[in-house]
Amino acid sequence: MKEHILVVFPHPDDEAFGTAGYLAKQSRKGVPITYVCATLGEMGRNMGKPFFANRETLPEIRKKEIQDACKVMGINDLRLLGLRDKTLEFEDLDVLADTIEKVIKEIKPSLIITFYPGYAVHPDHDACGEATINAVKRLKVDERPLVYCKAFSKNTVENLGEPDVVFDVSDVFDVKLEAIAAHKSQTEGLIANLKKQLQENNEEAIQWLQEEGYYTYRF
């Protein structure tokens, strides 16, 4: 099967934290990546540090940031669904699944990356993961691509165990840091902290940047 990765997340920056390393590695190998982002993160609480956005200017700013982050990671097919941040769980998730199913049928991905429904803390994450999983479930069993999920709720390890797929992304360390930094309005404070931790050789921060764990979804 021809390799093509489909990423489905609800917020600009969701891709940067947990998957930027793997995506950067794959795009460098020439694997095309399609990124479906459901909202523009219009309801973000971070407005830059010091803040430079307001509730009405934030969508345009975050749109530019996600485009910049995609450039950094080598993603050249970004699709913005235009839904509103923090409302996904109230949408008709079958309709959202229809949209995702259409993209799946169009690009025939070999791998889909999304959030693990019920284990992704933010209601938008869970709703997005649920719609994506349901879209895949509509395919015949032998036509379903591999699905990697990000999960980080407190009960994740207890219920799902440790991630079954872990990638060493240390060779794209800088790219990952740059992708996170591209989401300036959300990550300016975080990046400053991270850089400080890196200077101090903080193992937890280094490991967080160097390792990406995923759960293979078992249908």
Binding site: M43, N46, G48, N54, R55, E56
Partner: protein
């Protein structure tokens, strides 16, 4: 946005009395509040483009500020407001930012839908 000047906000509120307006009001402590600290609960409320008009609008407090609007049958208010901006669409944008610069409350009025 800049730090609230009570006179400027009050002047704008006075201009908007008895006008049909669209309201955006939200408050939140973030989707990760309980995830980051189990003693907390996630709380928030959000309304966008509620059509309102008010007979009396006032900004009070010593900063952070409170803004209250008296409507024909009730009240609308928000507290914790620190910054404001009147944008190019003549919309009054009021916001409360915490010490980290994160938006904790937004209270916005516009003559056209947001």
């Amino acid at each position: 946005m800049k730090t609230i000047t009570v006179e400027d906000v009050q002047k704008k509120l006075n201009e908007l009395v008895n006008t049909e307006l669209y309201l955006h009001l939200e408050t939140t402590n973030g989707a990760y509040a309980a995830h980051n600290d189990a003693t907390k609960m996630n709380v928030g409320a959000y309304i966008r483009n509620a059509l309102i008009s008010f007979s009396l609008g006032k900004i009070t407090g010593a900063g952070p500020y409170r803004v209250g609007l008296k409507t024909s049958l009730g009240w609308i208010y928000a507290e914790g407001l620190t910054d404001y901006h009147i944008d190019e669409h003549d919309r009054l944008l009021l916001a409360g930012h915490d010490t980290e610069g994160r938006l904790a409350v937004a209270f916005q009025l516009s003559k056209n839908p947001f």
